[in-house]
Symmetry: C2
Subunit: 215 residues, 2 copies
DNA sequence: CATCATTTTTGACTATAGTCAATTTTGATG
DNA sequence: CATCAAAATTGACTATAGTCAAAAATGATG
């Protein structure tokens, strides 16, 4: 048989390959954080990771693609921390408000993440894998409780993700300094059907700090 | 003086240069519509426009940049047609609903426009110049009339544009066939504070066809 | 018309992303 | 250990975006 499943490969080969992949990811993140994505070449990466130029392309199809797992890891970490913070909040509207605000602030605080959202063609996929499940769960809960209007997830999801990406793209500077995160939370709550009289208070209410990162 | 204002140049030079620019734009649009943006090189464009390779870059900084005026022209035409269609509608909510639906449907119907929104880093600017003024005017009117909630344009604008771009990015196929445009209109109206009881009826109400293009 | 300063055009050149055929590594088998 | 097929690695190669110094065009002036 010509079939070669991943599981059939010897563990030693698998491990070596995995290590090279890891070195490439580490090297990329370090370089990109130090000098910015535009100023890092594949040469730079392969030299720092100590692999041949071509090897890069056996692990990642394009230069952009190597950034995906890097950003996704951070997205997943952040999601876990937000989940821990909101686990005990009873009002879905407050959960959504706190989540949106922390999400926007954390993205804006990370130049790599901001760059990625502004420049990559498909930030949706990354969002979906990183924060999507939590987001969908919170939305579903709020709708089930009658706190939010029933809206089809199918169009709500790209609409909401697009909106948040739009705010990051255009307002990333103002998120940290001004209230763009709170204003965005207002709009999300209103969009979800939370009564206008409550929206502002919830969106501008206290924002408990994120717990430490999950080791 | 070393100052050389545009107005100081001889009209003949100005005209020739303008003609070359026009040939480049025409050539680009034709090629790109026929073969897709990715499969058109600057070589292709300069050959079709009958200018030297370097001349392209005296008119446009990058390959992307030449697409901006092309898409913007279409955006402005579409805006005028939508404006003509909605000029006599009294309810701001209906104006916004009709505008959003036609906008999304028209974008989805144009592969070049869709590609542009999915791939270019700053579609905001194009949106703003093409449809922004009309959009802001409609929003402001609705708020002034008390039909919409008062929301600061500053964050509303990137939020809304991002949301629509998000829907185009993720749902461009479904806009024409399914009801993604109507669902999006629902969300926009709800976001603007239109009572939930009216939203669905307005967003799914009759959609008068666009008037012919403005010659 | 000849001269000249300025503007515009130009294509050879550079840098780099991504490809691919040749080479090396691997570990299974006799 | 020697052989071999499969997988992984590699860097020379291609294609193309964007740069820039040299050349050409322009039109004002004497």
């Amino acid at each position: 048989m010509a079939v070669t499943e991943e599981s059939m490969k010897s563990p030693r080969v698998q491990r070596k390959r995995e290590q090279a992949r890891h070195r490439i990811l580490e090297a990329t993140e370090a370089l990109v954080r130090a000098r910015g994505v535009e100023d890092v070449t594949i040469q730079d990466i392969t030299e720092a990771a100590d692999v041949g130029h071509g090897t890069f392309y056996t692990h990642f199809k394009t230069k952009m693609e190597v950034l995906v797992p890097i950003v996704e890891t951070h997205a997943q970490d952040l999601t876990k921390r937000i989940d821990r913070l909101t686990a005990n909040i009873s009002d879905s509207a407050v959960v959504v408000s706190v989540s949106v605000r922390h999400l926007l602030r954390s993205i804006a605080a990370d130049p790599l993440w901001t760059w990625f959202l502004c420049n990559v063609q498909l930030p949706m996929e990354t969002f979906r894998r990183g924060v999507g499940d939590s987001g969908r769960r919170d939305m579903a809960r709020g709708m089930a409780e009658g706190r939010f209007t029933e809206i089809s997830q199918d169009t709500l999801e790209p609409f909401l993700i697009g909106a948040l990406v739009g705010v990051v793209r255009e307002r990333s500077n103002e998120i940290s300094e001004h209230n763009a995160a709170e204003d965005s939370a207002c709009m999300v709550l209103q969009l979800l059907g939370v009564p206008e009289s409550e929206v502002r208070e919830i969106a501008y209410g206290p924002l408990p700090p994120l717990p430490a990162d999950v080791g």
